[in-house]
């Protein structure tokens, strides 16, 4: 199925979770703020939150460089 991540179309497996999506982008869950259809998702439920076809996902993650 297709979802939108930071404005880009991304193909993901059916019933995959936000936790899995972060893993596929190699992003540490602890450092990420994630919005699913304009709702911020609590970090503690990333692994239980299922993505659905057409979802709009925003991911921002903190980095240490500067």
């Amino acid at each position: 199925m297709q979802i939108h991540v930071n404005g880009r179309q991304v193909e993901v497996a059916k019933d995959s979770t936000i936790g899995e999506l972060l893993k596929s982008f190699n992003i540490q869950a602890k450092l990420a703020v994630v919005e699913q259809n304009q709702q911020i998702i609590n970090k503690t439920v990333y692994d239980e939150t299922i993505l659905t076809n057409g979802d709009t996902i925003e991911i921002v993650h903190f980095v240490g460089g500067g």
């Binding site: 540490q28 450092l31 911020i40 993650h61 903190f62 240490g64 460089g65 500067g66």
Partner: protein, 339 residues
């Protein structure tokens, strides 16, 4: 017709001549004078703030020049300190602004004093450890600041107004052990410029009473993606740094040798718990017996033993190059410099 140094900025309606008159009374503290610190400081000094304080623990090397815009090849050759080289360059750009460069690490010991009369603080650091100390200091003193981070081609920025918006502790909850650093995955200078552009813009908005953004913003300048999330509702009511029940965990650390990995090189910084106990001239004599690769330029003492390079600052703080773990660095510090 507005003429003069700030004419184009005054033409920009949200600032105007009123905003310009406000800017000239403001004091901004920039913590870190690497890539982000340089870019922010130059924009703010050109914009005509009243006073700028720049704090940095490091000295200039050739690998900085690709993105740290205030420095020259000569600065790198002379291993000048970033804070002092930046002060000289910024003074040449706009002599009207009062500029102070402080060659120290921003820490729980000096932080509160450094920011005490700041109107706004800019994060120009390259590690989370210093950022969390900043976060505590600025939450305690209710100082607004702009977090900025950049890595590879990505820029991240967030404005933090303690008591109003979530702080770093609310959003991250603990000191991250981040695998990726400028050292391992690199960085391009446009990512620095985008990050600094967000930070300085937010600073100018705040200082001219134009309000700030509640969004955590991320841009990948290479991949051309953009994302922004309004994080207002993530204020943690029992946050250990910014709530009524704050205990400032990073401010209340026990004393002793402190170490930090530096972004961008195989380098560990070791810092003594008490400042000023080190005699550099004694050290020169002692180390001179061990190696002939030793040089003292009056600001830093540099020596090399067994392919490990030590750079000792006047306050006893030492950068140890050529080691990749903090414990080895601590041992080397204790062996050659003492603790």
């Amino acid at each position: 017709m507005i003429t003069g140094r700030y004419a184009r900025q005054e033409r920009f309606a949200p600032i105007g001549q009123t905003g310009q008159r406000q800017l000239v009374t403001k004091h901004v503290v920039v913590i870190g004078a690497g890539a982000l610190g340089s870019a922010n400081a130059e924009m703010l000094v050109r914009a005509g703030i009243g006073k700028l304080t720049l704090v940095d623990r490091d000295y200039i090397e050739l690998s900085n020049l690709q993105r740290q815009q205030l420095y020259t090849e000569d600065d790198a050759r002379q291993n000048r300190t970033k804070a002092k080289a930046a002060q000289r360059r910024l003074k040449a750009i706009n002599p009207v602004v009062e500029i102070t460069g402080i060659v120290e690490e921003f820490s729980e010991e000096n932080g509160e004093k450094i920011v005490q009369d700041a109107d706004f603080v800019i994060d120009g650091t390259d590690n989370f450890q210093t950022r969390f100390v900043m976060n505590d200091v600025l939450a305690k003193h209710r100082k607004p600041w702009a977090y900025g981070g950049c890595l590879q081609s990505t820029a991240i920025a967030l404005t933090i107004i303690p008591g109003k918006t979530p702080c770093l502790q609310c959003l991250i909850d603990h000191l991250p052990q981040e695998g990726k650093t400028c050292d391992t995955v690199g960085i391009i200078s446009p990512a620095v410029q985008v990050t600094a552009a967000y930070q300085t813009t937010e600073c100018l908005k705040y200082l001219t009473d134009n309000g700030t953004s509640p969004e955590l913003v991320q841009v990948d300048i290479w991949g051309r993606s953009y994302s922004a999330i309004n994080v207002s509702r993530l204020v943690d009511p029992i946050c250990s740094s910014c709530s009524q029940s704050a205990i400032y965990p990073y401010l209340t650390k026990e004393k002793g040798l402190k170490t930090a990995m530096l972004c961008g090189r195989d380098t560990v910084q070791v810092r003594p718990g008490e400042k000023g106990s080190l005699s550099v001239s004694n050290l020169v004599k002692e180390i001179g017996n061990l190696t002939d690769k030793i040089r003292d330029n009056g600001e830093v003492l540099i020596f090399e033993i067994d392919d490990v390079r030590f750079v000792v600052f006047q306050d006893g703080r030492t950068l140890i190059h050529g080691v990749s773990d903090v414990n080895t660095a601590k041992q080397l510090y204790q062996r050659y410099i003492g603790a």
